[in-house]
């Protein structure tokens, strides 16, 4: 792709005017360079005299006014003087220096100085640097993923680590910003110890396994708990006969101890309703250890939130709560079933098995649907519907059922129940037209009741396929309930339930069993001591929901049973143990076996073959511990602890032996590639390629394999989040009353949208212009509903590409996660959005704001935003940066602080862009970016991708390399996957 002499290319004066502010911090040192002799000569002839005349009186060695001196500056331009030159340039350009009381620079003098400094900057920045390899610590995420992949332990103990710092480029993996501290190292020891404890077991002791099942259904429990159960405020307990708990002994291929739950308790703090009561009480029943409850605000807009029927528990979608205290519930969404329980294992994996079906449901009718006349052809009319009657359905089909109460009664909003065969339908009565259902041919018993109010008649009328209610029903019955499982703890404020794996669609009306697995430690749990004296302390929760996406009716979820098993082992000793204590012929020769174990483990941990020295020194740890205790496994644990806290594991090391650029070694390349595209250590295949020296040759195929793999998500999410600053969405305090639809759940889906779009663009290798302008959005049911797409999706929570037919959508720059994050939660903010676009999308970052900028003191409340910004821009000290920021932000004025197009509002979104182009609004702005500025958008994307890929700030030459060579991709419109290949195949990535 590149020729070898291209590294020699220098970039000259053309760049002066558009010079970007590159790389922060100190430049790496360079050789005493043969600097452009003419610069040096000009310095002696023109620049030094100017400095002496205008600056050196105050800024000399003795006075050092403001800590600055200029008398030592030389025309040889040593690297370390560059920062000072840049500071001088800024002072001169903004006329801050010379100070007012001194003679000003003439326009010509100013031009001479600035012109020379600009050329000098390029000369310095483009110097050839030594390449001395690199040492880069794993980020918190990389460390976590590496430990997980290495040990196979899902438990995450890394939450004690301080978060990584954000570099100036916005990335968390920048080598310079990743510091090390004793606190961090102590945490590494602690985490490694816990991970090894979790992975290594005592083979001889059979594990204790907790296993129980809750069966649900009306009257299912022949021996219900006689006590009134209590579970504090806002818990709606299911009736005691409607659930049953059985402690089980699972079938396992290895010996184990069943761990049965305690059923006898003693508490002094208890509850009566919402009041606290004090006094010792004894409890003795499994039903004080496991409860079946519903949580969330009362009331459901249509039908019952939940209902016990003989077949199980019916659940409607869990409508997200507004989570505004005293306005809505802070207890989580509506219709939120959970098992509350006192005992769960402390550590290890668990499995929740849910047996559920899609209910053979009917579509409850809303006010707009009219009742059927009693003259409708073939209508079946039933008088005395309160008595069960057998009727004959002449042919299978879709039927509307109308329920007519006696006219004079007040029946509005009273609960109305309809039973057809073994199917149950309930709603608040509002009108005769009650429900549309599918009925089979033949005889069936039927009955309706309305809260004791006498009914006049019930009418069953066949709907023709063309009728709107029938069509609506067909769409309804095609939809599936989506089953989600959660784990958390009980508390009074804010739901802690966290999702276990992804939700699944339940498409069969026959009961099916679904499995959800996780590591128990990764979920919120009440950390209370044993024998806590409070009845509600330490209550854990397993939540099961029918998931809500967009509010459209969908059949109810029929929940039959929920079974828990944990710790969940498929084998004993578990795989985590077997991976360390590998099979060997030398198991009875401790020293030999220990060496095998250590060598196998270190090879994987260090992502390369461990050296003989490394193995030997680690083995010494084992030897010392083993000779002291005689405990083989314990001694192994000690030695592996050293491996996991050694720099060989914690750092990504590219070892260079000369100042010249050298190609990465195969193993170095394997790690660099894998941490880039998977955010974790290379897998066996990549390692094998490296070991057999084929990785470099097969690099393109390997990149494609990694992109196609599911682990590519571990690139997409951190990269999208860091490149686009999506963390702003996490911290913005959205005004819930202005933007009630931007709930926590909706935010979570919107937050995932940019990564989903990138995935689509990478995998389909689509042109880069799609980042700024696209006919497609990548959406799921939740985000489609939020954006108001005209084609409703049926994809649940899965993102899929869909045409949006709305000109204001498309591209990352129209995504609500970006736009809502770049607001103050109430109003849109063109400055934040403008600065973001300048930095992220066109890579023309504004300078940092100068210190001590005075606030505008006039009363500005009478002015429009644009007028206020105008005023701001004209302020001395502000103008320079803001002319490079505000114009990028004005087109975004078409979007509100919730990130949505302002439909109801006239907005002024025209803008005169920094290069003089006028755009009338977002539409033209997108065209401008996608066409006129396509190269710049592609460059910006590549620059960010490269920075993330190599984990450091790029040098000037590297940036210019990208600018130059990216043009090779222009004829195809900069296809996204190609750009990724470009990054990896570049010398910036491949050399050290």
């Amino acid at each position: 792709m590149f020729t070898s002499n291209e590294k020699l290319i220098r970039f000259f004066v053309v760049m002066i005017l558009t010079l970007p502010a590159v790389s922060s911090g100190e430049e790496p040192t360079s050789k005493p360079a043969a600097i452009d002799a003419s610069l040096n000569q000009e310095f002696s002839e023109q620049i030094r005299p100017l400095l002496t005349k205008h600056c050196a009186d105050c800024h000399n060695e003795e006075l050092m006014t403001s800590g600055i001196r200029v008398d030592h500056l030389t025309g040889e331009l040593p690297d370390k003087q560059l920062r000072l030159w840049m500071g001088i340039r800024k002072q001169i350009e903004s006329d801050a220096m010379p100070p007012e009381e001194e003679a000003p620079l003439s326009p010509e003098e100013k031009e001479t100085l600035i012109g020379w400094i600009d050329r000098a900057e390029i000369a310095v920045r483009s110097r050839e640097r030594d390449k001395n390899g690199s040492v880069r610590r794993l980020t918190v995420a990389q460390y976590r993923n590496s430990l997980r992949d290495l040990l196979g332990v899902e438990d995450d103990f890394t939450d004690i680590l301080p978060p990584d710092a954000v570099s100036k480029d916005g990335f968390l993996n920048n080598a310079e910003s990743m510091l090390l501290s004793p606190v961090l190292l102590e945490a590494y020891f602690e985490i490694a110890e816990k991970m090894l404890d979790a992975g290594i077991v005592d083979e001889a002791t059979p594990p204790a396994i907790q296993n129980f099942r809750m069966d649900l259904g009306q009257g299912i429990n022949p021996e219900p708990c006689p006590d009134d159960l209590i579970l504090g405020a806002n818990s709606h307990l299911l009736k005691n006969p409607d659930f049953m708990v059985t402690q089980l002994t699972p079938e396992k291929s290895f010996p184990f101890e069943p761990r049965f739950m305690t059923t006898q308790y003693r508490f002094i703090e208890g509850y009566q309703g919402n009041d606290t009561v004090r006094g010792w009480r004894e409890y003795d029943s499994i039903y004080h250890a496991v409860f079946a409850c519903m949580r969330g605000a009362e009331g459901y807009p249509k039908g019952n939130a939940y209902q016990s029927v003989p077949q199980g528990l019916l659940l409607r979608p869990a409508i997200p709560s507004t989570e505004i205290f005293q306005v809505g519930s802070t207890y989580g969404p509506k219709a939120n079933f959970k098992m509350s329980l006192r005992e769960l294992p402390e550590n290890g994996d668990f499995r929740v098995k849910v047996t559920a079906a899609k209910y053979n449901d009917g579509l409850l009718l809303e006010r707009r649907v009219a009742e059927k006349g009693n003259d409708a052809p073939g209508a079946i009319v039933i008088t005395k519907p309160e008595e069960t009657q057998a009727i004959t359905i002449p042919e299978a089909g879709i039927y509307q059922i109308d329920i007519h109460p006696t006219p004079e009664e007040n029946k509005n909003q009273k609960p109305c129940d309809l039973v057809i065969g073994d199917r149950f339908f309930s709603n608040k009565w509002e009108q005769p037209a009650f429900i549309v259902v599918r009925l089979a041919e033949g005889e069936i018993p039927i009955r309706a009741t309305l809260h004791g109010i006498p009914l006049e008649r019930m009418q069953i009328t066949r709907l023709s396929d063309s009728e709107e209610a029938a069509q609506e029903f067909v769409r309804f019955e095609k939809r599936d309930p989506i089953l989600g499982v959660y784990l958390g703890l009980r508390r009074d404020c804010g739901s802690t339930l966290a999702q276990v794996e992804k939700p699944v669609s339940v498409s069969s009306t026959e009961l099916q069993t679904f499995e959800f697995r996780g590591a128990i430690r990764n979920y919120p749990r009440p950390e209370v001591e044993k024998n806590n004296v409070n009845y509600l302390a330490g209550i854990k929760e397993i939540g099961v929901r029918s998931e809500y996406t967009d509010g459209r009716d969908r059949p109810q979820l029929l929940l039959r049973s929920v079974e828990f098993e944990g710790p969940y082992y498929e084998a004993w000793p578990p795989v985590t143990h077997q991976q360390i204590f590998i099979l060997s012929e030398h198991k009875d020769e401790p020293a030999t076996y220990a060496r095998e174990i250590i060598s196998n483990f270190a090879n994987r941990a260090y992502r390369r073959p461990a050296t003989e020295d490394e193995i030997e020194s680690t083995l010494q740890i084992w030897k010392a511990a083993y000779s002291e205790t005689g405990d083989f496994n314990g001694a192994i644990k000690q030695s592996l602890l050293v491996v996991l806290t050694s720099p060989q594991f914690l750092f990504l090391i590219e070892n260079s032996t000369t100042p010249a650029a050298e190609p990465l070694g195969e193993f170095e390349l394997a790690s660099k590639l894998s941490y880039f595209l998977w955010n974790s250590a290379p897998d066996a295949q990549t390692q094998h390629l490296a070991a057999t020296h084929q990785l470099r040759q097969q690099l393109d195929q390997e990149i494609d394999r990694m992109i196609a793999d599911s682990r590519f998500e571990d690139f997409l999410h951190p990269f999208a989040s860091q490149w686009l600053s999506l963390d702003k969405l996490d911290v913005v305090e959205t005004d819930r009353e202005m933007y009630p639809r931007l709930t926590r759940d909706v935010k979570a889906q919107l937050r995932a949208e940019p990564a989903a779009l990138l995935k689509h663009l990478f995998r389909e290798n689509l042109p880069v212009a799609n980042l700024v302008r696209s006919d497609l959005v990548v959406a799921n049911e939740v985000t489609a509903d939020y954006y108001g797409l005209d084609t409703p999706l049926e994809s649940g929570f899965d993102f899929e590409p869909v045409p949006h037919h709305q000109s204001h959508l498309g591209g990352v720059i129209s995504q609500a996660s970006v736009l809502a994050g770049l607001s103050n939660g109430k109003e849109s903010n063109p400055i934040k959005r403008g600065a973001w676009l300048a930095r992220k999308i066109v890579a023309e970052p504004p300078d940092d704001p100068p210190p001590n900028v005075p606030a505008l003191d006039e009363d500005l409340t009478q002015l429009t935003l644009r007028e206020r910004l105008e005023l701001h821009r004209n302020q001395k000290g502000c103008v320079q940066c803001h002319t490079g920021i505000d114009p990028w932000g004005f087109p975004f004025e078409e979007y509100d602080a919730g990130g949505l197009f302002k439909r109801k509002q006239e907005v002024d979104s025209k803008s005169d862009l920094p290069d003089g182009t006028h755009v009338a609004g977002m539409l033209e702005f997108k065209d401008y970016l996608a066409e006129e500025r396509q190269d710049q958008v592609a460059f910006s994307f590549l620059k960010h991708l490269m920075t993330y890929a190599v984990g450091r700030t790029l040098t000037y030459n590297e940036i210019e390399f990208i600018r130059q060579h990216a043009l090779e991709l222009k004829p195809q419109g900069y296809p996204m996957k190609k750009m990724l290949h470009f990054v990896v195949q570049s010398p910036i990535f491949l050399e050290k």
């Binding site: 390899g133 040492v135 961090l184 703090e269 950390e527 302390a537 050694s646």
Partner: protein, 443 residues
């Protein structure tokens, strides 16, 4: 100090092999091991707010906050017992946690030291780190116990109305201790078998760190011209970890400071006389500070919402009802009774300050080298604004006293950030802080 003058820590230890090592020797081992004068922090929490009676009842002289703002303030009746310490304390008015206004008010004790958004927790978490635990993270290297977490009820209680005000770095409640005798035995009468076990664990860890160091040094030599800076950082940090471990191990052999325990009433329990109980607990904290056993203490005096034994204390003291019930009282009698309970608490805290003043560090009293924060998570019933807050001690740590300071809607987290800085812990922010606290209080 140049490296050559530093003692080799390991060799000192090995040389003395269990013999008593005097504290000053430690000072030659680098500033990280020993700090001249301890800086300490103690947080004291009382639940259900404090007495701010309605004007119409005409008992304004029972108002917890003084009426006058500034240095000319007068103590009202509910805080009068604190008046001898006037120049060592300040009333701080107008403080709040912005997140407190959004969450269920019963959870106010859970967030008092954390400021966390409990109404919308970060997925997978309950709370965020409490001030005392963050302080402990930085002070633990200087003393035997990282922190002391005390409460009227042992354990953690029920999340949402926890029985502890302390939360670990990852936001988990730290179980509290409540038995004076057990606390005394643990802190001052460490039994030798558990000490031996502790020593064993530390030694093992030191060996490991040594091994890792060796591994790292070898690697460092092999690295050609690779960026050495990161490796240097790593080696320096690892050295520091080792010194801390060695320092911890040393504590085991250093005898606890000789102190007079004769005033301790270790039979006091939370079931007995409230005053006996609180005074004994305060005596223990003062002793622990004096002996530099710990530098971070959190003590929850009462629990929210009628939880726990302390709810009955007002009745034991002859007042008309329980603590939680009185906090809800709107009538004059009820509000007066609530105020009288506050006076009782002031008496206990005055006892604590008195003790802290009795003990001396090299440069003044222990109180002058300790910041004591006393407050509540509500002002009146379920009102999370204008949180009653008393700041005492720390004169040698840059805290200026003797005023009633007031500014509405000041973030409590800003106060916490300034406390951290006064402790010598240079962090940029704490929780939702927006800056440091007013310079008239923190120099």
């Amino acid at each position: 100090m140049p490296d050559s003058l530093k003692l080799n820590r390991r060799s000192v230890l090995k040389g003395l092999a269990g013999a008593t090592l005097a504290l000053p020797v430690l000072e030659a081992m680098g500033s990280e091991v020993s700090q001249q004068v301890p800086r300490r922090f103690c947080a004291l929490y009382t639940a259900n707010g404090m007495s701010l009676p309605k004007e119409e009842h005409g008992i304004d002289d029972w108002h917890w906050f003084p009426e006058e703002v500034g240095s000319e303030f007068q103590f009202n009746k509910s805080t009068e017992p604190l008046s001898p310490f006037r120049q060592q304390l300040s009333f701080l008015g107008g403080l709040h946690h912005p997140n407190g206004t959004k969450a269920d008010p019963h959870t106010c004790s859970d967030m008092w030291l954390t400021g966390a958004p409990l109404h919308n927790p970060k997925p997978g978490t309950y709370n965020t780190v409490a001030l005392d635990q963050l302080i402990a993270l930085h002070t633990k290297q200087y003393c035997r116990q990282p922190s002391l977490v005390l409460s009227i009820d042992a354990g953690t209680g029920f999340l949402s109305r926890t029985g502890t005000i302390s939360y670990s770095l990852d936001g988990k409640p730290v179980p509290a201790e409540n038995s004076p005798r057990r606390i005394f035995d643990r802190l001052f009468r460490g039994d030798t078998s558990s000490l031996e076990q502790e020593r064993e664990t530390l030694r093992k860890r030191i060996k490991l760190v040594d091994a890792v160091l060796e591994n790292a040094r070898r690697l460092n030599k092999e690295l050609g011209k690779s960026d050495r800076e990161k490796m240097d950082q790593y080696l320096t940090s690892l050295n520091e970890v080792e010194s801390r471990l060695i320092a911890s191990e040393k504590w085991i052999d250093i005898p606890i400071k000789q102190q007079d325990y004769s005033h301790l009433n270790l039979d006091a329990t939370s079931d007995g006389e409230p005053a006996d109980y609180y005074r004994t607990m305060f005596d223990l904290i003062a002793l622990a500070f004096d002996a530099d056993i710990t530098r971070s203490v959190a003590f929850m005096l009462n629990r929210e919402d009628g939880m726990g034994i302390s709810d009955t204390f007002p009745i034991k003291l002859g007042l008309s009802s329980t603590h939680h019930y009185l906090s809800h009282a709107g009538d004059k009698e009820g509000q007066l009774n609530f105020a009288k309970y506050d006076r009782f608490l002031s008496e206990q805290i005055a006892h604590f300050f008195h003790r802290l003043n009795e003990y001396q560090d090299v440069n003044g009293s222990v109180l002058d080298n300790s910041i004591v924060l006393f407050g509540s998570g509500a002002s009146t019933t379920h009102n999370p604004r204008n949180l009653p807050t008393l700041l005492a001690g720390g004169a040698n740590m840059g805290v200026k006293h003797g005023t009633h300071w007031r500014k509405d809607d000041t973030r409590l987290s800003n106060l916490y950030l300034s406390i951290l800085h006064a402790m010598g812990i240079e962090v940029d922010s704490f929780s939702d802080s927006t800056g440091t606290f007013d310079q008239s209080v923190f120099a």
